[in-house]
C-alpha cells in the first residue's frame, strides 16, 4: 500500500533565493536587529527635555546667553554614564530596577523608594500638563480645552496601544524635537561664538549663575528616567548579546538630548539675551517673546516643541511610575497586559494622569509651588536612586563579568556625588530663595 508519512525530497524544492536576494535579506535582518534594541535609550534621554527642562534651558539662555553652553559636554558624559549603568543592569539581569532593589534590599526600602517616587512623579506630571497649557496659549487655545484633550490623548495612547506601537509614536516624538533646531536657525545666532562657548568653560561664582547651572543638571538627570530606561530594555527582552546595540542606543540618546538643549539655549541667547529680555520665567513666555524678535515661525516652532515635549513626558512619566510601583510590590505590570490582568498598574496610571491634569485645571492652582516641589523632590530622590544603582551594578553575583570597572566606578561615583551636591544645592536654593527658581 502506498501510504506513510511523506518526506519531501530536495529535488522537488525550487525557489532557491539568489545571492542578491539573500544579501538583501541579511541586511534587512541586521537592521531589524538594531531596531529591535533601539528605543529605550533614545526615548528616555529625550524625555529629559520635558516642560521643566525646556523652561530651565530657556532661562539659562535668556539670563546668561552662551555662558552656560560649556556645561553641556560634562552633562552629556554624566547622563551617559548613569544611564548606561541602568541599561547594562536591565540587559544583563533581565530585571527592572525596582525588581532588583526589592530582591536585594527587601520590602521596606523598596516601599519608601516607590512612595517617594509616586509623589515626586505626580508633581512632575502636573508640570508637564502645565507645559501643555502654556504651549497651547501661544496658539490661543484655552487650557480648559487643551489640557483635558491632552490627558485623554495620553490615556488612550497607552491603554489602547501595544508596547511596539507606543514606542513607534514615542520615537516619532523624538524627531519632533528638531523643531528647536529650526527655531534656533531662525533666531540667527552667532554660531562661531556659540561653538567657542561650548568648548571653553566659562565659570562664574555668583549665586544666580551657580543656581542656574545646578538647575540645568538637575532637570536633565531625573531619577525616574533610570527606572523607565531599565524597564524599557527588560520589556524589549534585550539580552547580553545585544548589549553593544543597547549601549549605542543610550549613547545616541544622551548626545541627541544634549544637542537639543544646545539649540534651545542658543535660540534664546541670540534673541532674548541679546535684546535684554532676561527675566523670562517659563518656556511659554519665551515662545511669546520670540515672535517679535525672530519672527512668527521661530516662536511657533518653539511653542510646538514645548507642546511635543510636554505631551511626550506626560505619556511616559505616569507609565514609568505605575511600572515602578507594580514591579516593586509584585503586581502585574506592563503594557502587554490587558486591563483585567494588571488592574493596579492601569489604575495607578489613570490616577496619575487624572490628578496631574486636574490640578492644572484648578482656577487657583498653586502651580508655582508644585513646580518647586517637583524640582526639590527630584533632588531628594535622585541621590537615593543613584546610590542604589551603584550598589547593584557592582554586585558580581548579579552582574557577573559586567560589573563596573574601576575607571567606570570612579567616573560614576564622581558623577553621582557631583549630582548629589548640585541637587542638594538647588533644592536649598529653591526652598530658601524668594526669587524665581530655576527650572520653573
Amino acid at each position: 500500500m502506498d501510504w506513510g508519512i511523506l518526506k519531501s525530497s530536495v529535488e522537488a524544492l525550487q525557489n532557491r533565493g539568489t545571492g542578491l536576494q539573500r544579501r538583501l535579506r541579511s541586511l534587512r535582518r541586521r537592521l531589524v536587529l538594531l531596531m529591535a534594541v533601539v528605543g529605550p535609550g533614545l526615548i528616555t534621554s529625550n524625555v529629559d527635555n520635558d516642560a521643566g527642562g525646556i523652561s530651565t534651558y530657556t532661562q539659562a539662555g535668556a539670563q546668561y546667553g552662551y555662558m552656560l553652553l560649556w556645561a553641556l559636554i560634562p552633562m552629556t558624559i554624566a547622563l551617559y554614564v548613569t544611564e548606561e549603568m541602568c541599561a547594562r543592569m536591565g540587559v544583563v539581569t533581565g530585571k527592572g530596577l525596582s525588581d532588583l532593589i526589592r530582591e536585594e534590599f527587601g520590602f521596606r526600602p523598596t516601599f519608601f523608594v516607590m512612595i517617594t517616587g509616586f509623589f515626586v512623579d505626580l508633581a512632575n506630571v502636573v508640570a508637564e500638563f502645565a507645559g501643555v497649557a502654556a504651549a497651547m496659549q501661544i496658539f490661543h487655545v484655552s487650557k480648559y480645552v487643551a489640557v483635558p484633550i491632552a490627558a485623554m490623548l495620553v490615556w488612550i495612547l497607552v491603554i489602547r496601544g501595544t508596547y511596539r506601537q507606543v514606542e513607534v509614536i514615542f520615537l516619532f516624538a523624538c524627531i519632533l524635537y528638531l523643531s528647536y533646531v529650526f527655531s534656533a536657525i531662525l533666531a540667527k545666532p552667532d554660531w562661531l561664538i556659540a561653538a567657542k562657548y561650548t568648548v571653553i568653560p566659562n565659570i562664574h561664582f555668583d549665586l544666580g549663575y551657580l543656581v542656574m547651572l545646578t538647575g540645568l543638571v538637575g532637570t536633565t538627570i531625573a531619577p525616574w528616567q533610570f527606572f523607565y530606561l531599565q524597564a524599557g530594555f527588560v520589556e524589549k527582552k534585550v539580552g547580553p548579546r545585544q548589549y553593544s546595540q543597547a549601549k549605542a542606543d543610550v549613547l545616541f540618546g544622551s548626545v541627541s538630548c544634549m544637542v537639543i538643549v544646545f539649540f534651545i539655549i542658543v535660540c534664546t541667547a541670540a534673541t532674548l539675551y541679546a535684546h535684554n529680555q532676561r527675566d523670562i520665567t517659563d518656556a511659554g513666555q519665551a515662545a511669546q517673546a520670540l515672535i517679535p524678535l525672530a519672527g512668527k515661525w521661530a516662536g511657533t516652532l518653539f511653542a510646538f516643541g514645548l507642546l511635543n515635549a510636554s505631551l511626550f513626558a506626560a505619556s511616559i512619566l505616569p507609565l514609568s511610575t505605575a511600572h515602578v510601583i507594580c514591579e516593586g510590590l509584585g503586581f502585574e505590570a506592563g503594557l502587554d497586559h490587558k486591563f483585567k490582568e494588571a488592574p493596579i498598574f492601569y489604575w495607578l496610571y489613570t490616577i496619575l494622569i487624572v490628578v496631574g491634569a486636574g490640578v492644572v485645571l484648578l482656577p487657583s492652582a498653586p502651580l508655582w509651588k508644585i513646580l518647586i516641589f517637583s524640582q526639590v523632590g527630584n533632588g531628594i530622590w535622585l541621590p537615593v536612586v543613584v546610590i542604589f544603582i551603584l550598589l547593584l551594578v557592582n554586585r558580581r553575583d548579579l552582574m557577573g563579568e559586567y560589573v563596573n570597572t574601576l575607571g567606570y566606578n570612579i567616573v560614576a561615583w564622581v558623577t553621582a556625588i557631583a549630582m548629589i551636591v548640585l541637587t542638594l544645592f538647588v533644592s536649598y536654593a529653591a526652598f530658601f530663595q524668594q526669587g524665581p527658581s530655576p527650572g520653573g
Partner: protein, 413 residues
C-alpha cells in the same frame, strides 16, 4: 496557631535553663530531609558567632519567644550550608512560579504552622503570602506591636499559594540539585501557559528552566514563545541540547527558528541533528518565509485514494505518533500524484468499506511552494480550509499548511 515568618524574625530565644541565647535571624529548610520543615534556626547574639538550633531542640514557639529544650552548650556554631534553603535570603522578596495559578509571583511572607512531635515543636511551611496582608506585615513589623499588625491585616483580602504548588527558580544548577528543585510540575502545564511564565522571568532564569525541562516540553514551549526570545534561548543553550530540542519540534517550526539564527549557529545545530530530520529542515530553510513553502510542514498524513475507510482507520490506530492535530488526510492516485483531501469528520461518518476517493472535498485545491503567503490566506478564506496541500511541479504533495499556521502568521502581522 498560624505564625508568620516576618513575625518570628528577631524573636528572642531562651535555653532550657531560661538563659537568653540570641535572636532568630534566619530559618532554614533542608529539602533533602523534609520539603516543608524548618530544620534550623539561626540565632545571632551580637558580636559572638551565631548559633544554630535544630528542629528537635525547640520546646515551644510563639511570636514573643522561642524556648529551647536543651542548654546553650548543645547548640552548634553556624556554618553556611548550600543545601539549606534560607527563608529570608532565598524566599522572601524573590519570584516563584505558582504552578496552580500558572504565573510568576513575588513572595511577601511565609505562613508557618506548629506541629507537635514527641516532646518538641516543629514548624512547617504551609503557604507563601503574595498579597496585601503579607505586604502590610513586611512594612509594619517591628514598627508597631505585632497585635496591631495582625488587626490591620485582617480585613485585607488574602492571597496565598500552598507550598506544594510553589516552584522555586534557582539559576545555579548545582544548588538546584542540592535543594532538590525540579521543574517536573512545570511539565504538566500547557506549553502556552509555560511560555507566558517564561516571558516574566529573566534570561538566566529562563535558560535554566528550559535546560532542565524534557526535550518534548522544551520544544513545545519554544514553539509558543516570541521569535526573539526563542532565538536568545537557543543561542545560549548547549548546542547538543538545542539540537535535541529542535528535533522534537515540527520541521516547519524548527526551520522558522533556525532562519532567525546566524548562518554558523544554524549550521552547527543542523549538524548535531540526526540526518533525516536535519535534511527536512534544511530543505525548508531554502524557502522564503513569506511563501507557501516557508509556511508548510513537510510532515503530513497521506493515503492512497483506493484504500477503504476501514484500512485507513486501522492504519491510523497503529501509528505511535501524536495525531491530535490531524484533521485532513491527503490522497494520492496510482501515479503518486495529489488527488484530493479528506477531512477526518467525513472519514468518521463513512461506511467501513467506502473508498477514500469517494470522500474527498471539492474543489481540488493546492498551491506550489513558491506561491505568496497572500495566496495561501485567500484560499483558506475562500474555501474555509483547515489544511492546504502544497505540491511540486509534478503535482506530488511535498507539504501541508494547517489552519493554525495561518492564524499565527496573521496574528503576527
Amino acid at each position: 496557631m498560624e505564625l508568620y515568618a516576618t513575625e518570628l524574625m528577631g524573636v528572642r530565644t531562651y535555653d532550657a535553663q531560661g538563659n537568653y541565647v540570641g535572636r532568630v535571624r534566619e530559618f532554614f529548610i533542608e529539602p533533602a530531609e523534609a520539603p516543608n520543615r524548618i530544620s534550623h534556626f539561626l540565632l545571632s547574639r551580637g558580636r559572638f558567632q551565631p548559633l544554630v538550633a535544630k528542629h528537635n531542640q525547640i520546646a515551644s514557639i510563639s511570636e514573643k519567644k522561642i524556648q529551647l529544650n536543651v542548654g546553650e552548650k548543645a547548640l552548634e556554631i553556624y556554618q553556611p550550608n548550600e543545601s539549606w534553603l534560607a527563608v529570608q535570603k532565598d524566599l522572601l522578596d524573590q519570584q516563584i512560579i505558582d504552578t496552580r495559578g500558572r504565573k510568576v509571583v513575588r513572595v511577601n511572607d511565609l505562613d508557618l504552622a506548629e506541629q507537635r512531635t514527641n516532646g518538641n515543636v516543629e514548624l512547617r511551611l504551609t503557604q507563601v503570602d503574595v498579597g496585601l496582608p503579607g505586604a502590610v506585615r513586611r512594612l509594619l513589623q517591628g514598627v508597631v506591636p505585632p497585635g496591631v499588625v495582625r488587626k490591620l491585616q485582617r480585613p485585607l483580602p488574602p492571597s496565598t499559594i500552598r507550598w506544594e504548588f510553589v516552584n522555586l527558580i534557582e539559576p545555579d544548577p548545582l544548588r538546584r540539585v542540592k535543594l532538590r528543585i525540579t521543574h517536573e510540575k512545570l511539565e504538566d502545564l500547557h506549553p502556552a501557559d509555560l511560555a507566558d511564565i517564561m516571558e516574566d522571568l529573566s534570561a538566566t532564569e529562563r535558560q535554566s528552566i528550559i535546560a532542565s525541562l524534557d526535550e518534548e516540553t522544551a520544544a513545545a514551549v519554544l514553539a509558543e514563545l516570541d521569535a526573539r526570545l526563542t532565538k536568545q534561548i537557543v543561542e545560549d543553550l548547549d548546542p547538543e541540547k538545542a539540537a535535541d530540542i529542535l528535533e522534537e519540534m515540527a520541521p516547519d517550526a524548527a526551520a522558522d527558528l533556525l532562519a532567525d539564527l546566524s548562518k554558523e549557529t544554524s549550521e552547527e545545530l543542523l549538524d548535531e541533528m540526526p540526518g533525516q530530520e536535519a535534511n527536512e529542515v534544511r530543505e525548508l530553510l531554502e524557502f522564503d518565509p513569506a511563501t507557501a513553502g516557508g509556511m508548510m510542514n513537510p510532515e503530513f498524513v497521506f493515503v492512497g485514494e483506493n484504500s477503504t475507510r476501514e484500512e485507513v482507520v486501522e492504519w491510523l490506530r497503529r501509528q505511535d505518533r501524536n495525531l491530535d492535530q490531524l484533521d485532513t488526510i491527503v490522497l494520492l492516485d496510482n501515479n503518486v500524484q495529489y488527488s484530493g483531501a479528506v477531512p477526518v469528520t467525513r472519514l468518521l461518518l463513512a461506511a467501513p468499506g467506502e473508498p477514500m476517493g469517494a470522500l474527498k472535498m471539492e474543489p481540488l485545491v493546492s498551491l506550489p511552494p513558491d506561491a505568496d503567503e497572500k495566496e495561501v490566506f485567500q484560499l483558506f478564506d475562500k474555501y474555509n480550509l483547515r489544511m492546504l496541500t502544497i505540491v511540486n511541479k509534478d503535482n506530488r504533495p511535498i507539504g501541508a499548511i494547517a489552519v493554525d499556521d495561518v492564524v499565527s502568521r496573521l496574528v503576527k502581522k
